[in-house]
């Protein structure tokens, strides 16, 4: 997903009165933030689409009572791009029955593999680079090992995969952050205020942290907003038509009630 084209996808861009950060599109020049000499752009937001979840393989014959599945919990870029441009490290908090339940992953891919038998909630805390955001962000994922269809056979070849799509939104990003990530495919770049220019990014420090060739990538799910948008648009149309109808009816009845009032009033 490359920068500003994402917001121009559907032509409804122009009438984006209702979006939560509509103001970001008609942003004014940001006022410099006093702290740390970082210039931040007000009314601008930058988002990073991510997918997080787990893949779990049943161990089949090699399964024991306490280790029936081998699973991997992860956070990846939605298009399998490298998240380490934004994320400094990820901390996975496992169930207390695991040794060292706090697992820290310092580089992409941000994932953790373990073996076990139980499903539990994993708290994932993402820490960002200092020019991105000082505060960490928490995600929660309920580990899933067993397939939905309980009666179905469990296979050692095909994992149980549960993924969720979400977007991390950074408000009032700093200039340095914006400069660093412009043109990076993992990030949805905002439209900048008119006339605003950024220094070119530093191409040299690019480590390979994307998950395009990840061993699990064949199981990754695809998330396309197109279907959902279509669904929503159709629904809205229906509702709007119905609203119009009701409005007509109401005004009709209003008229009639006006006529009725004088004669039949008790």
């Amino acid at each position: 997903m490359i920068n500003s084209s994402s917001s121009k996808k559907h032509g409804t861009d122009q009438q984006e009165i209702s979006g939560p950060t509509a103001k970001s599109q008609r942003a004014q020049m940001g006022k410099p933030e006093e702290s740390e000499n970082k210039k931040r752009l007000k009314d601008v937001e930058i988002s990073v689409p991510i997918v997080f979840g787990n893949a779990a393989f049943w161990l089949g014959k090699k399964a024991s009572d306490y280790q029936s599945h081998k699973w991997t919990v992860y956070v990846r870029g939605a298009t399998n791009e490298d998240l380490s441009v934004v994320v400094k490290r990820a901390v996975f908090q496992l169930h207390s029955s695991f040794n060292n339940p706090t697992r820290v992953v310092e580089s992409a891919p941000f994932e953790l593999s373990e073996s076990g038998w139980g499903e539990f909630e994993i708290a994932i805390t993402l820490y960002f680079h200092s020019d991105v955001c000082e505060k960490p962000l928490n995600l929660f994922h309920h580990l899933k090992l067993y397939p939905e269809d309980e009666s179905g056979p469990m296979s050692t070849k095909k994992p149980v995969v549960v993924e969720f799509y979400d977007e991390i939104v950074f408000t009032e990003p700093s200039e340095s952050f914006l400069a660093r990530v412009q043109n990076h495919p993992a990030v949805t770049f905002p439209r900048l205020p008119a006339g605003f220019t950024l220094p070119p990014p530093d191409e040299s420090k690019r480590n390979r942290g994307d998950t395009k060739d990840h061993p699990l990538s064949q199981w990754f799910l695809n998330f396309s907003e197109a279907d959902e948008l279509l669904q929503l648009a159709a629904a809205r149309q229906q509702v709007q038509a119905h609203i119009a109808k009701l409005r007509r009816q109401i005004s009709m009845i209003d008229g009639q009630n006006q006529q009725l009032k004088p004669p039949s009033d008790q």
């Binding site: 988002s47 509702v239 109808k245 009709m252 009630n257 009033d265």
Partner: protein, 450 residues
């Protein structure tokens, strides 16, 4: 006789000799061995199906090899500082009295009150508000009363509050610990060093507690009212600010929290914290205000998840609606085939989703409005029952029908407006058209309607 009844014994008045003979026979009936008669009778005279007590265990223990007697013997306790000798019954086994310390001596624990030397006092512990004698006396009391400060405060010759005594004791002990420690690192873990006693905080806390405890019911109610009022005022204030200057950072989020804290501390403070703003904001702007305030609070977060943002916006939008309305919105969404929580929450999708929800809310409101109007209309017509025999029933039916919006994905029933009109012509009808909207069945959208 009654006693025998109660005990469940047979009533036969056998003479004693006969009793003796017949006893072996009746024994099994009367009681099991091993339990006394009274105890057995407690169970109602019936044997339980499963004996809860293993009968063979009772009173049938094999006689132990040891000879046990009980003797009145003297003893001393290590817990005592004097050598007082007291006497008690002791279980003597084979002529050997029990050895070891008095069994309860181990419970004689006391607190390790640190005692300072005079030089240490001169060097580290002088304090303008405390004399050495007082401090000495304090420490004596602490040792004597095991740090029971309430008692110490009670007995202290000069009047000092519990907090002052605690403060002096803890700061002295802490200073001594630090002074005596070879290096600061070693004592850093000691609880006295890690968490110093905070007098002002403690005083405040106790005062707040006592205020809360002594609140009458009347006060409680008043407090609840004030909190609600504060919240409303803060919100309307936010709305006023939000509507006028959307770029101002919203600090009034903190407002209601502050008011609540203030109230928690004591109702004396709260009335002064809550000002009534002069600007009253009309309810129709409240939804806009909610939106703006949510936006502002999201912005303050600096980083958040899109799904979280959507949740907040949805909540803000439905804040004016009751639970039932919210459920109806969700039902409608499901009927329309839309996920309650978008599976791919991009910015565009979230925006559309939010708009859809708002439109559904509008729709539901309009439906309600329509119902009211029709009810109104039919109540006007209800003036003369005689003229229009059919109307009351029909208008009631119309008003009662829950006009649920059933989208065309589910059904394609046709709405034959025109035809129904003709059928429903009744005598003495003022006009025909008003009746038709009143008598519609639950609406089903025709494909041609769209």
């Amino acid at each position: 006789m009654d006693a025998k009844d109660i005990l469940g014994l047979p009533k036969t008045p056998l003479p004693i000799t006969q009793e003796k003979k017949s006893r072996p026979q009746k024994d099994s009936q009367r009681k099991p061995d091993g339990i006394s008669r009274e105890v057995y009778a407690l169970t109602g005279g019936l044997a339980p199906l499963m004996p809860s007590i293993d009968v063979s265990q009772l009173k049938r223990r094999p006689p132990s090899d040891e000879k046990i007697t009980w003797q009145w013997l003297p003893f001393t306790s290590s817990a005592r500082k004097d050598d007082l000798q007291l006497y008690h019954w002791a279980r003597v086994v084979n002529g050997v009295p029990p050895t070891g310390d008095y069994s309860f001596a181990k419970y004689n624990k006391s607190v390790d009150v640190i005692r300072y030397t005079d030089e240490e006092y001169e060097k580290y512990l002088t304090d303008p508000t405390w004399t050495k004698e007082e401090t000495d006396q304090l420490f004596d009391f602490c040792e004597r009363f095991d740090l029971r400060f309430i008692i110490i405060a009670d007995r202290f010759p000069t009047s000092r509050t519990v907090e002052e005594l605690k403060d002096r004791y803890y700061s002295v002990s802490r200073a001594i610990l630090i002074a005596r420690a070879p290096s600061p690192g070693e004592v850093a873990g000691h609880p006295l060093v890690k968490e110093p006693y905070n007098v002002s905080q403690e005083t405040e806390r106790k005062r707040a507690l006592s205020m809360v405890l002594s609140q009458t019911k009347h006060q409680e109610r008043k407090d609840a009212e004030v909190i609600a009022e504060a919240k409303r005022i803060a919100e309307s204030r936010m709305a006023a600010q939000g509507v006028e200057e959307p770029d101002l950072p919203v600090t009034s989020d903190i407002g209601p929290e502050n008011a609540e804290k203030a109230i928690g501390h004591g109702d004396a403070i709260s009335p002064s914290n809550v000002h009534v703003p002069s600007a009253a904001v009309a309810p129709s702007t409240s939804i806009l205000a909610d939106n703006t305030s949510t936006l502002a609070s999201l912005r303050m977060l600096r980083v958040y998840l899109r799904t979280y943002a959507l949740e907040q916006m949805v909540q803000a939008a439905s804040s004016s609606a009751g639970l039932r309305t919210i459920k109806r919105v969700e039902q409608t969404l499901q009927d329309l085939g839309v996920n309650l929580k978008p599976k791919v929450p991009t910015k565009a999708v979230c925006a559309e989703h939010l708009e859809l929800r708002k439109e559904i809310l509008t729709l539901l409101n309009l439906q309600k409005q329509l119902q009211y109007k029709e009810a109104e209309g039919s109540s006007f017509r209800d003036g003369s029952y005689g003229d229009m025999p059919g109307t009351p029933k029909r208008s009631l039916r119309a008003a009662d029908q829950d006009r649920t919006f059933v989208p065309d994905t589910i059904s394609f029933g046709g709405e034959r407006v025109g035809k129904r009109e003709q059928k429903r012509k009744g005598p003495g009808r003022v006009s025909e058209t008003p009746s038709s909207p009143a008598h519609k069945r639950p609406r089903k959208l025709k494909a041609s309607d769209l």
